[in-house]
Symmetry: C4
């Protein structure tokens, strides 16, 4: 599908599905077990409606904001995901360039298929690096030092994978890394010639960062993602690990994967600068709540002490506006830019982020504000079951003060 | 489909779908983005049920009412929509005649394809004119003067389009105005010979009012509806524009597109005579709430100071009765009369309005009242989540006083 | 389908659908407008669950009860419906015999196709007669006298048809009475040879009672059911009509079609002996609430002064048990016995009633009671939205006293 | 389907469906009447979501627990079901061996197709025996003595079958015991050659325990399950039967099939050691509530005086974790191990139990605990409609004390 005919993320998703071998598309698309959380991540956004205000001056709008002190052109953050080269040979380099072009901050994945230095070299925008509670602190220390030299602004510690969720699609497809194709998988690849041509034309099939991490983990040969992660991640790690990391890393620190207010406050106590409310895109615990529903209480529990970000399920501008109105600073997107990468490499990544940013801009006008910091809960209608008490959903809300600016 | 076999608006919708090229049907039918608001506009009506009362004298019923002081034979108002000639060459003239025959007030659309004077000439019933916050006040002043001369009773200012909603169907079909057919569209037209014959047989394909507005906006050549509207509408306009309009226009003033109580009260403060609770038929902000749900609090917030009308989603007599029982004075209908126009020109317009009016009449009898002003909330069961407190939904409601008339 | 293979009402429904011309099946099956009330009449029963109690002596069970003082073998009442001969030539005679065999009280329909005297002659069980607020009191007086002579125990006054609901299926099929077949209808009949053979073999195609009523109404020739009813029923009639009827009729009086507590109390005040909570099987006002939901407040509002019956949607024994536990004395069933009549005449009527009665018997055992009068709300779980306050749904309900009997 | 390709219980279910004649699969799979309770047994689990906690040391996890004083390796209990030999010739022997291998306690069914002594001989794990309120106390006394000699730890008295539920699938398939094949059933069997080969190859087609029970019940020849049960079970039995049994049986006593708090407390008063909250897998009373919803109030009503188990609908590890967090000690599984038995005999039984146990282990890690006794309601989000008051669902729950262990 021609990129200019892709008007929405759903269009890019269809394009990616056509382009990629089923095994790889399912690896991106799938969630844990029965995918209930995956589905709910989408449906939860429709439970909230807007209370738009009209006849405000919305002629000068901006979707730019600051994220942990860094000015960015978009409220979208490229979520940490791994192994982009199995989607497109330009992999993380295309993502870094595409994100920068779209004004979006990028979080390089711990399991990247290019080295951190290569990614940092390609990126002209702000860059964070994702890590996890690796078994070996020497591995972490090595990354901390490389990250510092590469200009990484923040480390993003993913905490929701003490073990890997049961991703049934991957069990059924038999996906392993490095790719060791079975006959079924070869047949699958042959039916997707566009992907195959890219793959065969790539000069270098190494998965740089991922390889070196695996060597650190001590394993050789191919294995499922679950096996690889089990080798590397230590499920005995506790908040003590955050305290240690806080001491050895001088940049910003963001904790990703929290869903409880007590965990959020603990993160603040341990010195985090940001929290990502995430259920890992529905890939870890099937039955985890949708993040949007957990967001308001977490925002309320930490106050202004840290920035809170929302991950999992964001596909449209209205999603982003709802999350920010509920207190998120910005939203992580994962699958959307991977669809774009599959569809058209770097241009597809930029296109995917621009689709959502443009939608955010339009929605700002339609709810009657000009800037992201003018969004608040008075512009939303939240179901009473959500129990949001600090800013009750009233149909009789006074106009928020900041929104009065520019009237008359 | 023979008009006499069209018993419901859904029948007329099917007929219109068969008659019109897909591009044009979708232009009428579509909503913004994922069309969640569009669907909810329909489903919301079924959340409310009736508490009918029996053994009342309902032998002499009437569906007539007054709208901003004008006596009308129907509680239906022809909503402002544009470019009727792309549906049927008689366009707004057929609508004006058909509405008058059905006893319904008509709001001529700002983007009409006949001139206001032509429409007023065809109409033997009450006529309003829709405008928007046009960039150029001279354009508005010109319309104000023409409206006065043409006997327009009220100006209806649409405020919910500071920018145009993302209508994906139009993006995909590539519809532009004036119609500049692509090969696909020609093929589409050829498959709808009834529409094509009408179109080719029309002597004059000008879109009078729309053309002159576009010239005022400065643009030439074909463009999407979004482009056209962007050229004409000024998103910097605020309530100041209402104040100015109130001063230059001596007729009635109705504000269309409000969804908040504070905006409704502001409209009252600025001198409006009526408010249309509308989400633009789901065509602007996907995620806007269904209007029926917002209606009661808006009615309560403005009291008797203005009349409140309901727009968006009305297709049946039960919808109208529910809206009026919740406090609406009358209901706007848009797509229904366009279906009728597509099906059979003027006769189809009358038929579409009569279907709903006849249903209203029957429902009055079945809930046990004779006149629209006897409808109130005690005849409804509203879900408790709606939080209507001024007239609690009780299963133990005393018989409303006015309903006692005619007993014994 | 062999009757012995019909285990449920749904089986009989399928059999009836196969047997009857579509026009006639739809005439039985259809509801008003979009059939929302029709569907909700069924789904409402699943909103309530049981709180069964075990280890009670349920070895001697009975489903018999008394209805307005008459001992019956079943808590099912044959609802008043008309024109049974278009389904089966034995018509109301088969129904009367089948109902008596099943121990069920029958309400003869006002539009019956055999005369009241013929029905009474065939019936060996208790018989009521349905009337409506006919235009002409002489017609009513004639019926009152005939009913008295025929041994009718109660008159059942249907009040929810001041006008006839919009039944779209009938509009589309063009059904008229007497049947004046169009070519399409002839073709329909030819495709249902079992029904056609019955029809052609019937000696007498008169619709006795219906004919005489129509003559009283003054109309000749064929007309839709809506037209026929309009000719006969006077929408100006009020509670005064009930007062008059109460004076001229010495038997019991039951008002059918009430959905409000104030109307129910008015019925008590006017001397009714029973109230049927009914929405006319979803055939009158689309958007009328499901009767089960209205039942508890109506039961509570009238106390023990009258018996309350539930109509509309009953298909299974669990439905009956739920209704009785919420305070109904018995349940009317309409379509179920008509399905049975279509499937197998008198035997089918008995079978249909026996299916439900046997289910009631089984459910009594499974919820832990032996008699219908041991059912109460403590055996149910009712959604809190229903707002039943007099017998709060608690998961900690003390064992009802009557249920203690037979312990140890 | 190869057992190694069966990753979930749903996979085993598909395998069983392919392997078994329809009549037998439906006998296992079916529920009462419209199967509403059967479906709700599954859907209820998705109403509850988790509030997972992270950065806890979850490196040493265990799913073992004690059940009425017996240490077991799994929180799963093999539910009492009958006639396993119609599924696989190894029948209950395969189940006993497979359960022991998986570390699960087994409840031998009263209608087993091997004798209790044969089952006890095959089992190397803990064994309970299910009985019902048999008509003849001599039969029960005989079982009590045989159970004592066979080393049975507890009797499990099923109380929810005073009569047998209406299982429509069995009515339609005409299943009878012993199997007396009709032509349709022979055809069904021929289409399932794997099952047929097993069946024909079995040396001994007797249903030992079931036969002897039937002889005790006095019936000869084939009959439906409903008939067989009617012959054996006495619906007049009350709590007096529990009192008597408590006196004659010196082992533990568990009452299965309770759904009310008053019944649960009565069981405690009569000396029960455990209670199984069960709706008989949706096979008895259609409209019985889902057990998960009844669990919390029953747990709260009996306090620590007995152990409470959850039956009906458990298919995944998340289900088990939710039930235990709500207060259950362990969960019964029925159909899952029958699917495994059908798929692969003893190995299939073990596989089915291991699938769920492994899922439980993973979920423990993902919600942040190491042992089953660390699960409590603070890790769940329960809908407010459930009305759980003793441990309110808060998004601001303090970390449970026991979960603090092992931190830092």
């Amino acid at each position: 599908m021609n990129l200019s005919r892709c008007y929405t993320i759903a269009d890019l998703q269809r394009s990616a599905k056509r382009t990629l071998p089923k095994m790889i598309f399912d690896f991106i698309e799938g969630g844990a077990e029965e995918e209930a959380t995956l589905r709910r991540n989408r449906s939860v956004f429709s439970e909230i409606t807007f209370q738009p205000q009209y006849l405000r001056d919305v002629s000068n709008r901006s979707v730019s904001t600051t994220i942990v002190g860094t000015r960015v052109g978009s409220p979208l953050i490229v979520a940490p995901t791994g192994l982009h080269r199995i989607i497109h040979p330009d992999g993380e380099l295309a993502v870094a360039r595409g994100a920068a072009e779209a004004g979006a901050l990028m979080i390089a994945g711990g399991f990247s298929s290019y080295t951190l230095e290569e990614i940092a070299g390609a990126s002209s925008g702000p860059l964070w690096l994702q890590i996890a509670p690796w078994r070996d602190r020497d591995v972490v220390m090595g990354l901390v030092e490389r990250a510092h030299r590469a200009g990484v602004l923040a480390l993003c510690l993913t905490v929701d994978t003490p073990v890997v969720g049961l991703r049934e699609r991957d069990l059924r497809s038999g996906v392993k890394l490095p790719l060791e194709p079975t006959p079924t998988q070869v047949f699958d690849a042959l039916r997707h010639p566009r992907w195959l041509a890219r793959w065969l034309g790539a000069r270098d099939l190494e998965f740089a960062n991922f390889r070196s991490l695996r060597r650190a983990g001590g394993e050789r040969g191919a294995g499922s993602m679950a096996h690889v992660t089990h080798d590397l991640i230590d499920p005995s790690k506790t908040w003590e690990e955050v305290r240690w990391l806080r001491n050895v890393w001088r940049g910003s620190l963001v904790i990703k994967g929290l869903l409880r207010t007590d965990d959020a406050r603990r993160a603040v106590d341990e010195g985090a600068d940001g929290i990502v409310v995430s259920n890992h895109g529905g890939r870890q615990l099937d039955g985890a709540p949708p993040t949007l529903e957990m967001l308001p209480s977490i925002v309320d529990s930490v106050g202004d002490s840290v920035e809170v970000f929302l991950d999992s399920g964001v596909r449209r501008g209205t999603d982003v506006v709802k999350a920010i109105a509920l207190g998120a600073r910005a939203c992580l997107v994962g699958r959307p830019f991977l669809y774009g990468l599959a569809a058209a490499g770097q241009a597809g990544v930029t296109h995917s982020l621009s689709i959502i940013s443009n939608e955010v801009d339009r929605v700002l006008a339609l709810v009657g504000v000009s800037r992201l910091d003018q969004l608040d809960r008075s512009l939303l209608r939240v179901p009473s079951e959500w129990g949001i008490t600090s800013s009750p959903v009233s149909t009789d809300t006074p106009v928020p003060e900041h929104a009065e600016e520019g009237f008359d």
